[in-house]
């Protein structure tokens, strides 16, 4: 009987489970010994065995190629109180702001400091009016708006002194621009008195058509991620070298067995005390049964995550949020979606709620709304030639806004994924997706 089934495994009340496990183990071992294939669908009744411990690398190390900035001094989803507190009042200035408007014009277009102001604002001809965004108001005529130098200055330094629920990053208070640079930006803003002239309609965020995803994501010649479906189908049948078991040993025909399973994930797992998504489930369950070692974000794990959802394509997402634990997790997820993260101090909602930044342009990229954000995950990413699961997507969001990501199996991500799945209830799975 494989050792992995005995150690560090969560299962039903031990005594009965042990007996059943021994029996099953013997049956399968004997069958293998005598070259007899075990009967298909030899699943035992009861909760799935799950390996305990971490489901991804510890200490968590950020992916190669991602910015290596450490943002521990700012909020993360695991530590929402790390950032310095907002100033309680606007800073009083000694006199008028003197700054270099020419340098200000460069700074507002500087993408190395968090996307640049143009990510959210049209600003006249700054940056050649090249695909500016429209999450924030058009500032092309802000020089005529009658704002005082002090108001300009404080708005950029930390707009929370005027509007506690602002989306504006605290550019000065969080150290992205220093006092002199803020002065330069103010000097530049004061010169903005004329509407922007765009080279083409496509440059104007007010006229740019919202992108519509039309690709056939399940066409293998369109979507390289479809190879993962084939890879996983083979992994499903592959016997582990030590245990001799494959997923198929117990689960039989995958198309029949998993035709709806993934649509009900993620789910709260009482034995672990946190929400379990497909990828984490795959790691824990494989390790506790066949012995296969497929940690989260490994190629095998990603492929299995694609496959298990692909088998349930067309099924509506339907996750439990009624049991007390699931309800609490959903509530935590809802609050996490409102938690400010990183140097740029954004919450999920700041970018994705249509009442804030959702359904608007951030530079040349469209910010989607939560409905429709989950049904195509995992997705092929054409910009990177990689498959991303929803946990990697969560991780990148934090890093992109200059915060620290959490390990993919962080319980916070489980809560957030459950919340997102509940918001997406009824939307049908179409996996793997294909996106930018």
């Amino acid at each position: 009987m494989p050792a992995s089934i005995r150690q560090g495994v969560l299962d039903r009340p031990l005594s009965r489970a042990m007996t059943a496990t021994v029996t099953m183990g013997l049956v399968i071992a004997l069958a293998a010994l005598f070259g007899v294939a075990p009967a298909a669908a030899d699943e035992r009744p009861g909760p799935a065995p799950l390996a305990t411990g971490d489901a991804s690398a510890r200490p968590w190390k950020r992916y190669d190629g991602w910015p290596d900035r450490d943002a521990s001094a700012f909020n993360s989803l695991a530590n929402p109180h790390a950032s310095p507190p907002a100033p309680t009042a606007p800073r009083r200035l000694d006199g008028p702001v003197t700054g270099d408007a020419g340098n200000g014009a460069k700074l507002v277009a500087d993408r190395t400091r968090g996307g640049s102001c143009l990510a959210c604002h049209v600003m006249g001809q700054a940056g050649n009016a090249d695909l500016p965004g429209n999450v924030g108001p058009d500032l092309s005529e802000i020089g005529n708006a009658g704002l005082s130098d002090e108001q300009f200055w404080n708005y950029i330094n930390d707009a929370r002194v005027y509007n506690p629920s602002t989306i504006m990053p605290p550019w000065g208070a969080h150290g992205l621009f220093n006092d002199k640079e803020i002065g330069d930006i103010v000097a530049f803003l004061k010169t903005l008195k004329v509407p922007a002239k765009f080279a083409t309609d496509v440059d104007d965020p007010a006229k740019r058509p919202a992108p519509v995803e039309k690709r056939d994501n399940l066409d293998p010649t369109t979507n390289p991620a479809m190879w993962a479906v084939d890879d996983a189908a083979a992994l499903y049948k592959k016997r582990d070298a030590s245990s001799g078991f494959a997923c198929a040993t117990c689960h039989g025909d995958p198309a029949a067995r998993f035709s709806t399973w993934a649509a009900a994930m993620p789910r709260f797992e009482p034995r672990l005390g946190h929400v379990l998504g497909v990828e984490e489930f795959v790691f824990r369950h494989a390790k506790a049964t066949t012995g296969a070692n497929w940690p989260m974000e490994s190629d095998e794990n990603i492929a299995m995550g694609v496959y298990l959802r692909n088998l349930a394509n067309g099924q509506p997402i339907k996750v439990d949020i009624t049991s007390p634990d699931a309800k609490a997790a959903y509530e935590r997820g809802r609050l996490l979606a409102d938690t400010k993260v990183g140097e740029l101090n954004f919450s999920c909602r700041d970018c994705h709620d249509p009442a804030r930044g959702g359904l608007k342009w951030i530079r040349g990229q469209w910010l989607g709304e939560p409905k429709g954000q989950l049904d195509h995950f995992p997705t092929w990413r054409t910009s990177l030639n990689q498959i991303w699961d929803i946990r990697r997507r969560f991780q990148w969001c934090s890093v992109a806004i200059r915060g620290n990501e959490l390990p993919p199996d962080a319980p916070e991500y489980g809560d957030l994924e459950l919340y997102l799945a509940a918001v997406n209830a009824g939307r049908t799975l179409s996996v793997p997706g294909i996106r930018h």
Binding site: P67, A119, L131, D203, R363, G364, Q365, T382, N385
Partner: protein, 146 residues
């Protein structure tokens, strides 16, 4: 920043604008790739349809479809199609070889674009004609920066 230079390609040809790109290629390199392909023949603006997105979602994978208007008979067919991205560090992207068995002069692929730039398509026919067309593509600037 882009600067514009008009470059005349062969006597009697239509002038196509080649813009200097941010990614290291010069209009001269792109023009040289075209010259090497057409070998001094004059190029005319022709009936080539270039299907490219107005804004590419990213420069890593940009879908491109080309249709050259041609009867594709044994007597009169497209023989070769060149694709050049003028601001790419290596402007020549591909040369497609066709013949009468193609049925239609249609090719599709996915290309890399280093920056907002023009994509130029040049086709040669069995009758010795050289035709050319060009389309600008804006490459999306991402939202969150580096």
């Amino acid at each position: 920043m882009t600067t514009r230079r008009d470059i005349i390609l062969g006597a009697g040809s239509a002038a196509l604008v080649l813009t200097a790109g941010a990614a290291g290629a010069t209009p001269q390199e792109a023009a040289a790739a075209i010259q090497a392909f057409i070998g001094g023949k004059p190029a005319a603006k022709g009936n080539i349809s270039i299907d490219l997105p107005e804004i590419a979602e990213n420069g890593n994978t940009v879908p491109l479809a080309i249709t050259v208007d041609s009867p594709m008979t044994a007597d009169d067919h497209v023989t070769e199609v060149l694709v050049v991205a003028e601001a790419n560090p290596l402007p020549r992207l591909a040369i497609f070889h066709l013949g009468p068995m193609a049925g239609r002069a249609e090719v599709a692929t996915r290309i890399r674009l280093a920056a907002t730039e023009n994509v130029t398509v040049v086709a040669k026919t069995s009758k010795g004609a050289v035709i050319m067309a060009q389309k600008p593509v804006k490459v999306t600037i991402g939202g969150c920066g580096g």
